[in-house]
C-alpha cells in the first residue's frame, strides 16, 4: 500500500524539447488513477519514470514518502504490466509467475503458494506448465497480470494492458480488472488512450496532452465539467459539437452570434459579461442537440435550420449529422422516440435546437472553460 507523489516532473529526450512538462500529481493510497490522452502525449513516459525505467530530467518522484529518483526499478517495489505483455517466452506460465519471486529469494513453499493462488484467481491454474506460445491473447494477458499480482507490490503500473485484445475480450478483461482492483486494493496507475476504459476503471483521471496535464478529476467531472476544449473534445464519443460565436449584448440581454446563426443566452449562465465583444467556443454534447420535433429539453434554444447529411444507427441510439452553414453537428437521438429512416430524411432541411442547460463555453483565446452546466 502506497502513495505516489510526482513533483515538477519533466522529461526531455533531446535537450530543451520536453515530452513531459512540469507534471504534478498526488496519488492516494489504494487509489486507481488512469492517465488518459492521445498517442504520444507522454503518459507512458510518466509511468516508466515511476517504474524507474526512465530517468527524470527534472523533478521528484516519491513512493510512500521516499524519494525514488535514483532508486533502481527493482528496489521500488512496483509491478508493471506492459502493453505487449512482455512475458518470457522461454519460461512456462509457472516460471513466468515465479520469476519475480525468485529474484526476491522468496522461500519455495511460499512461492508455490503465491503462484498457485494468483493463477487460480486469474483462471490460469490449468496452464501452469505451458509455454506462453501455446496460450491465447487473453490468457497471455492474464499471465502478465498474474506476474504482477504474485509480487504483492506497493504499486501496480499498467501500460495499456488491454489494447492488444479484441473488442469483446477487452470488455471482459476490463470487467475482470475492475473486480481485481476491488479485491486487491493496491495503488494503481493505469495508462490508456481508450476513454471507456478510463471512465469505467479510474477513481481519478489524469487527462494529458503534449506532455502536460489538462485536467485531473473523477470520471464524472471530466465528462460533465471539462476544464478546457481539449478535455471536452477528447472525452465523449461522438465528440462534443463546437462552434465559434461572439458574445453580444442586445437590448440588455446577452447573445451568442455565430457565423450562420445566433443563440439567446439564458440568464443562468454567469461570468459571460466579461466576454462581451469577444469570441468564445460553444460546446454541446450530441445528447444536447436535437431535431425540434424530438427535442424534450426544458430550456431549449430557438430553432435553427440545418440540413441532414446522414443518419447512423448505433443500437438504441441514432446519430444524426446535421450541417448548418459550414458547421457539422452530431445529434444523438434515442430510437425509442421514433426511428428516422435514412433514405427518407437525408438531404432534408430541418429545424434543430440545443439544450441551453447543457451548454459548455470556452474562452477562444485561452481555450479554458468559462461555463460548464
Amino acid at each position: 500500500m502506497a502513495t505516489i507523489t510526482l513533483k515538477n516532473v519533466t522529461k526531455c529526450y533531446t535537450k530543451g524539447v520536453p515530452v513531459v512538462k512540469d507534471f504534478n500529481l498526488d496519488i492516494a493510497d489504494r487509489e486507481f488513477v488512469v492517465f488518459l490522452g492521445p498517442s504520444g502525449c507522454g503518459k507512458t513516459t510518466v509511468l516508466r519514470m515511476i517504474a524507474g525505467l526512465e530517468d527524470l530530467t527534472e523533478g521528484q518522484i516519491h513512493i510512500d514518502g521516499a524519494l525514488v529518483n535514483e532508486m533502481a526499478p527493482r528496489d521500488r517495489d512496483v509491478a508493471m504490466v506492459f502493453q505487449n505483455y512482455a512475458i518470457y517466452p522461454h519460461l512456462t506460465v509457472y516460471g513466468n509467475l515465479a520469476f519475480g519471486l525468485k529474484a526476491r529469494k522468496v522461500p519455495k513453499v511460499e512461492m508455490d503458494q503465491r503462484v498457485q493462488s494468483a493463477a487460480k484467481m486469474l483462471g490460469i491454474d490449468r496452464y501452469l506448465d505451458r509455454k506462453p506460445r501455446y496460450l491465447s491473447g487473453g490468457e497471455r494477458q492474464r499471465v502478465a497480470l498474474g506476474r504482477a499480482i504474485v509480487r504483492e507490490p506497493k504499486v501496480f503500473l499498467m501500460d495499456e494492458p488491454l489494447s492488444n485484445l479484441d473488442a469483446k475480450l477487452r470488455v471482459h478483461m476490463r470487467f475482470e480488472l475492475s473486480q481485481l482492483r476491488r479485491k486487491l486494493g493496491i495503488t494503481t496507475v493505469y495508462v490508456t488512450h481508450d476513454q471507456i476504459e478510463a471512465l469505467t476503471l479510474g477513481d481519478r483521471l489524469v487527462l494529458m496532452n503534449a506532455g502536460e496535464i489538462q485536467q485531473v478529476a473523477d470520471p464524472d467531472t471530466i465528462y460533465n465539467r471539462p476544464a478546457n476544449i481539449f478535455v471536452a473534445s477528447f472525452v465523449g464519443s461522438p465528440s462534443m459539437n463546437f462552434f465559434d460565436a461572439e458574445v453580444v449584448r442586445q437590448n440588455g440581454a446577452l447573445g451568442l452570434a455565430g457565423e450562420a446563426f445566433g443563440l439567446r443566452v439564458t440568464p443562468n449562465i454567469r461570468g459571460l459579461d466579461a466576454f462581451v465583444g469577444k469570441h468564445v467556443i460553444c460546446g454541446f454534447r450530441p445528447e444536447a442537440v436535437a431535431l425540434v420535433d424530438y427535442a424534450a429539453f426544458k430550456n431549449r434554444t430557438e430553432p435553427i435550420e440545418g440540413r441532414i447529411d446522414d443518419v447512423e444507427p448505433v443500437g438504441e441510439n441514432q446519430l444524426i449529422y446535421v450541417s448548418c452553414g459550414n458547421i457539422l453537428f452530431v445529434a444523438r437521438k434515442e430510437v425509442a422516440s421514433g426511428v428516422l429512416a435514412r433514405h427518407g430524411v437525408v438531404g432534408k432541411t430541418v429545424p434543430i435546437t440545443f439544450d441551453m442547460d447543457q451548454i459548455h463555453l470556452f474562452d477562444k483565446a485561452t481555450e479554458q472553460a468559462i461555463h460548464n452546466p
Binding site: A51, G52, R74, A79, M80, N84, A86, G100, A103, R147
Partner: protein, 282 residues
C-alpha cells in the same frame, strides 16, 4: 509447380540443378575418393575413377596422416585457437552487442561505434598484417597459440558484435524491463532473459566465428611457424620435392573439413533458427 511448366522449361530446370549440384559436390567427391587412393591409382580414369570399380580403396592415407605427429599437433593447434577465440568472441561480442542495442552512448553515437566495428570487418586483414607481426614479436608471442587466439579474436569480434547487436535490437526491450521491475539487475536481466532468448543466434554466431578462425590462413602463415602451425598452413605446405602429393593433400583437406562439419551437424537445428531469427514475429 511442375504441372503448368513446359517440358523444355522442366528440362532446363533439371539441367541447372544437376550442374549446380555437380559443381558444388565435385571437390568433396574428388577429395574423398583421392584420400582413399594410393600413389599408383591417383591419376586413374582422369583422377575421377570410382572406388571398388576402378581401384580398391584404402585407409592408408588417413591412418598415416592421423599418426603423423605434425598433423596431430596442427589439429590440436587449430582446434585450440578456433575454439578459444570463438569463446572470447561470443562473450565479448554479446556483451558489446547488447550494450550497443540497449544503451545510448553520449560522447560517440551508437551508430558510429557500430560502423567502426563494421569497418574493422571490411578492412583487408593484410593491411594490418605487418604491424600485427611486429606487435606479436615485441610481445614475444610469435609462433604461439596465444598469438593465433589474439588475432582471430580481433578479427572475428566485430562480426560477433554486429550480429549480436542486430539480434538484441529485435528482442523487445520490455521483457528485460519487466525483469528489471521484477527485481533483477541489468546483468540479471541480460543473463536470465536476453541471453536465453538469443541462444539460437548465439550458436550461429559462434559457428561463423569458429569457421572463420578455423579457415584463417594469412595470420597463421605470418605469425606461427612450427610450434603453433595450423591445419590450413600445414595443407598448403603439402608440396614436396617429388611434386604435389594429391592423395596426401586430399586426406588433409578432408581432415580439415571434419571438425567444423561435425559441429554444424551437431547444432544444425540452432543454425536454421538463428539465421531466421526475427523473420516472423512470435
Amino acid at each position: 509447380m511442375f504441372r503448368k511448366t513446359s517440358l523444355a522449361a522442366r528440362t532446363l530446370f533439371i539441367v541447372i540443378l544437376v550442374t549446380a549440384t555437380v559443381w558444388t559436390a565435385f571437390p568433396f567427391y574428388w577429395g574423398i575418393i583421392t584420400s582413399l587412393k594410393d600413389r599408383e591409382n591417383v591419376n586413374l580414369w582422369f583422377s575421377v575413377g570410382l572406388p571398388f570399380v576402378h581401384y580398391t580403396p584404402t585407409l592408408e592415407n588417413w591412418i598415416g596422416e592421423l599418426m603423423l605427429p605434425e598433423m596431430q599437433h596442427a589439429l590440436l593447434n587449430s582446434i585450440t585457437a578456433a575454439f578459444v577465440s570463438t569463446v572470447f568472441c561470443v562473450i565479448i561480442g554479446s556483451l558489446a552487442g547488447y550494450a550497443l542495442a540497449r544503451f545510448r552512448f553520449e560522447r560517440i553515437p551508437n551508430k558510429d561505434i557500430t560502423i567502426w566495428f563494421f569497418s574493422l570487418r571490411v578492412l583487408p586483414p593484410v593491411a594490418v598484417a605487418i604491424p600485427f607481426f611486429i606487435m606479436m614479436k615485441t610481445l614475444g608471442l610469435l609462433d604461439t597459440r596465444t598469438a593465433l587466439v589474439l588475432s582471430y579474436t580481433t578479427f572475428n569480434l566485430p562480426f560477433a558484435v554486429i550480429i549480436m547487436r542486430s539480434l538484441f535490437l529485435e528482442l523487445p526491450p520490455e521483457m528485460e524491463e519487466a525483469a528489471l521491475v521484477d527485481g533483477y539487475t541489468r546483468f540479471g536481466a541480460f543473463f536470465r532473459v536476453a541471453l536465453p532468448l538469443s541462444a539460437p543466434a548465439l550458436v550461429s554466431t559462434a559457428l561463423i566465428c569458429l569457421a572463420a578462425a578455423w579457415n584463417e590462413f594469412l595470420f597463421a602463415l605470418l605469425l606461427v611457424s612450427k610450434n603453433a602451425m595450423t591445419i590450413p598452413v600445414l595443407i598448403s605446405g603439402g608440396e614436396h620435392s617429388r611434386g604435389v602429393e594429391f592423395w596426401m593433400v586430399a586426406t588433409r583437406g578432408m581432415l580439415a573439413i571434419l571438425p567444423p562439419a561435425l559441429m554444424a551437424l551437431l547444432v544444425q537445428r540452432f543454425i536454421v533458427r538463428g539465421l531466421t531469427f526475427g523473420a516472423v514475429k512470435g
